[in-house]
Amino acid sequence: MKFALMINQGPYTHQASDTAYHFACAVLKAGHEVFRIFFYHDGVNNATRMTTPPQDDRHVIDRWSELASQHKLDLVVCVAAAQRRGILDEDEARRHGKDGDNLAPGFRISGLGQLIEAGIEADRFLVFGN
């Protein structure tokens, strides 16, 4: 079964990203495919590699990056929502004349069409952190 997830809240303030992570792990463990995870609204804040939590806390962002690399997940960040909140990849940073980019490994920035496509392609579509 193909699953797609949407994450709409940032890390640490809300539990949504944690729940989605544990759910995604359980989905993969059950032998299903995770077609795409789409980050929208404040959910785009899950994609900044500048995040530096205390050492005794979980690293929400690295955890996503690692899961993505282990399972070749497609982690997509909405470009418009990301730009509003200062999440930029190298290309976007250059285009807007910013002095740095901050997109974490394993994430890519793209448009809302990717969300719609996920809704169409996936057998199961879940929203976390609405």
Binding site: M6, L112, L115, I116, G119, I120, F125, N130
Partner: protein, 128 residues
Amino acid sequence: MYVNRRAPHGTIYGHEGLEVVLVGAAFDQEVSMAFVGDGVFQLKQAQDTSGIGTKNFAGAYRALADYDVTRLYVETESLEERGLTVGDLMPLTYEDEEDNDQEKSSITLIDRASLGQLFEAQDVILNF
């Protein structure tokens, strides 16, 4: 189906939700929107954000018909609980090509029980 449950302007959900609807319209899917709870405030007419300096996206609801998004379901109970009637909402209309381009309202009032049934008939529900 896109489900709106939040009031406008206090949070960005309504605004960014509308962006999804407009992009999604290009995908040739049959879409509808539902307005439940505080979501009915999204459609209140005469919204004017000039005093708070935020973008007034309410006008974009008028563009929905151009994108063939013409089914906006508003839960009757949510309206009543908030002291509103359909007359308090933006007059959103479309021209029905299958009916001699007659101008029709995009807004359909729906009671809670029927809306619950409508949810069951959806392939995907996105909520904002």
